[in-house]
Point group: C2
Chain length 601, copies 2
Amino acid sequence: MINYKVPLRDIRFLIEDVFDFETHYQALPGTEEASPDVVEAIIIEAAKFSEDVLSPLYQSGDSGCTFKDGDVTTPEGFKEAYQQFIDAGWQGLSGPAEFGGQGLPSSLGIIKSELIGTANWPWAMYPGLSLGAMNTINLHGSEAQKKTYLGPLTEGTWAGTMCLTESQCGTDLGQVKTMATPNGDGSYSLSGSKIFISSGEHDLTENIIHIVLARTPDAPAGTRGISLFIVPKVGVNPDGTLADRNAVHCGSIEEKMGIHGSSTCLLNFDNAVGYLLGPLHQGLQCMFTFMNTARLGTAIQGVAAAELSYQGALPYARERRSMRALSGPRDTDKSADPLIVHGDVRRMLLTQKVIAEGGRAMLYHSAMLSDNMFAAQAKNDEDAIQLYEDRLGFMTPILKAFLTELGYEAANHGVQIYGGHGFIKEWGMEQIVRDTQIAKLYEGTTGIQALDLLGRKVLLGKLKSFNDFRSLVDQFIKSHSNKREMKPYISQLKIYMRAWRFKTWRLAYGAKRNRDLVGTASYDYLMYSGYIVMAFFWARMADAAFSKLAVGSNNEFYRAKVQSADFYFNRILPRAGAHGHMMTKNPESLMQMPEQNFSFH
Amino acid sequence: MINYKVPLRDIRFLIEDVFDFETHYQALPGTEEASPDVVEAIIIEAAKFSEDVLSPLYQSGDSGCTFKDGDVTTPEGFKEAYQQFIDAGWQGLSGPAEFGGQGLPSSLGIIKSELIGTANWPWAMYPGLSLGAMNTINLHGSEAQKKTYLGPLTEGTWAGTMCLTESQCGTDLGQVKTMATPNGDGSYSLSGSKIFISSGEHDLTENIIHIVLARTPDAPAGTRGISLFIVPKVGVNPDGTLADRNAVHCGSIEEKMGIHGSSTCLLNFDNAVGYLLGPLHQGLQCMFTFMNTARLGTAIQGVAAAELSYQGALPYARERRSMRALSGPRDTDKSADPLIVHGDVRRMLLTQKVIAEGGRAMLYHSAMLSDNMFAAQAKNDEDAIQLYEDRLGFMTPILKAFLTELGYEAANHGVQIYGGHGFIKEWGMEQIVRDTQIAKLYEGTTGIQALDLLGRKVLLGKLKSFNDFRSLVDQFIKSHSNKREMKPYISQLKIYMRAWRFKTWRLAYGAKRNRDLVGTASYDYLMYSGYIVMAFFWARMADAAFSKLAVGSNNEFYRAKVQSADFYFNRILPRAGAHGHMMTKNPESLMQMPEQNFSFH
């Protein structure tokens, strides 16, 4: 049983020493309220709730949801925890004040999501999906729709879902078949089946607001014929009270590898009443707003997995005794030394550690971008919106895919550190692996994120956001070139930044002559970019730690940060080399084999 | 549901075109009977049994074993399948003829194990563990013990287990506490508890022969005080009939991440009657004979996972449609192109393919070494025994750890290719991931194999077996340097062989000054070595394919082999670079952080 403790010291290091959230919040309109005191109080409270209420339900929740006669019952304790959560106003933390939210910065909401998600990811998916629905309605809904739905969603008495996938398509939403026929009164009748709907049915709230992708009659084929609809589980009267049950029902829940506490539903729409959300036939564009939030949300799962698995593995590595240290017995009075003396166990622990902490830094950086984005939207500043959309758009596929791949790796190290015991349910380590597997799949698989990064964000974007990120790193390199203790990091960063630029140009040039190159290079390009981006944040953390060490406070903590950066640069970053090598290979070695020759049975 | 089809064409390619088993068998005493006709017939029959009987029980067996009042019931159909298996004489395929075995080569037994293990790994563990017990008794037992136990074990009416692990130790067996007290009549009384005993209790056979590691009173502390004992579940009368139930009982079975069909038992010995096996206090040495077999057996699981997951993913990638090929729509009459047109999906499929086929080649090569080893043992040729023990000893940790790590990777690709559906139990893809996780843990974790390779086999062995393997590759390089179409492979092999030698020397030199280097380099050294070893076998497969292409038969099959080799050299082998880079790093970046500074809660 893993007792999650929120890594408060690490979080404070980021928001105070590395990123200076205080200055960031003061500079933005609408986030001034987030003073250091407020931020600290919120994190402390979120930590308490996560540790005391959610964490104890993590392993027991693995028993899963039950489905009966269209109803879903969540695992024992989930409902009570949810009630406590909304009673304390957590769901509306970053929600708009006019609908009952606290109007605090989006970045604080992301930190909150990290804490509750690390404590209990399957549970955290219920409020998480609601946030997606809230954001979508907030951005694309009419005033009347906002008024009807955002209050209870912000409060958390209602929940929300996103209904995209159908059995024939997940990634390729142009193949969606669910039909929305106008009723003549402004409403639509929706018919069809959606699968893999997270939180599609549950017992936590009195209503569930489904945001549904569907096709209208005579709409153009493919993605251009798709629109977005609001389909409430229970109809809503003009005064906001609940009306009749709508014709959307859960047909079954999936038996999955993990996240058993989260219901994954088949939803059947049988002439369910729905309301157009946003412009007709622009459902997919509207959806993309949600997707960026959702993908950032999913990236959190990578950090969460690494952190939780590390917290599970570290005490075991300190307590469990096996063999002797290679440099000579350490605890001669004991029959064996603790696991942590062994180099290979340290390799796995430190890998988990630098993934968790490096990933968190990447996440908080992006969270700040999202604050900037919301501020730009509030001011209707088109240039600023574009700028932050581009910056966030560049980071999103890296965070989503790279951090979930590495989080999954970290979770596997946790199992490995436990040896055979890691395979046993009781310890909770294997559950993290099972629960994290999905992070690489939903909200766009790793392969899709990779195509999004290289094909869309970098190449179609004419390297703009790529160059933008590069200049951020270059600035850092420039301003730290003379800092003696930063030399090893700066020199490595320089080399990788030069290679990244060169290889990106090479891919841009090559893709013009052979479009397949985008597909054959994309995964390696994403991983390559991820390792370099994480190196930049580890360099920044090392720099912040050195600055603190120079003034002499809490030396051990900061020294450990520098040593972690050391580990990252020496033992993780070199992986980028292999990816960089492979991504520039001729597509032929991947594309030449005729489909029928993949097997000869 | 995955319908496993034995890749007969691939297997024939290896035993005929690449390794020439016919010549190998003819040259060895005792294996002449294994004519090509016999080999073919056995493989065909094993394939039928695997496909028709075992494969259909794979997914249903995931429901698991049940435990009640000390008894274990295996999943539905397991018992009947086992009866068919022993009725056909499969258990004794490579068993000694004097005890009812067919006396066929050990390598054929390994191929059989591959087929049944790919079809249904959890089921295959029952006969697999028995083989371990049989081998141990055959090598270390008295004539009387062999006479008592080997007949029914070879027949399969009895099963066997290996009882090593206790709750306080798995890897570090010097900490074993189970006590064996002499009864004065030559027998011993065993008391203690063993955990994680695969097949420790089940309903497949009338008796179970436990091979148990235990300590005798007044034995020296640590590994030198440990002996091996035979403890039958049911006592055996001098005439071979069953006597009284022995005092060894199953206390519970573990709830695990996977291999639910295989029982993992807590066994309690309460003054159970046991018999010393092999010399007193040399239990661990005797155990190591078993361990090599068991580790080779576990390596099969890596190949099995890659093969099965590939067979699950390939039809899906051919049938499931999503998006358009980057080079332009292919199936314009359909709403989307099949997954297999996409570069990144091909990357995952081909990775699975080259792991399965490359791993199989490594396995069959080692299987031939094991034939040589058995022949040497039969002749009591000490020099030959040493030679083949060294060769096998060098390959074993690479096979066990590298192939299970890569098999696990391949299984994960299978899930990824299915997208969200990969996470759903129904399709069977996630089960392969869960079932394969254990392969990296049991019979010595990846970390332990890595230490065994670098610390024991390479460095303590003074690079002898390493140089021996190198000369095998160098010979190949030399004899193929002039073959024009082999140029790309030979030139790469040359570079890597030089680097491998150089880096090994460097580690040998560095380890003398800093023992920690062995531990900090071991994992990367193992993976590095694995990629190079697999490259050698892919080069040999390419060579065999080129030779066949030159004479013009079945071009497509051989061309696909060459293209697979191409993929391996271009897109997998470069990973070795990163490992090679990291393993020669100063241990400091791993060892410098004080234990207490790994977290600051």
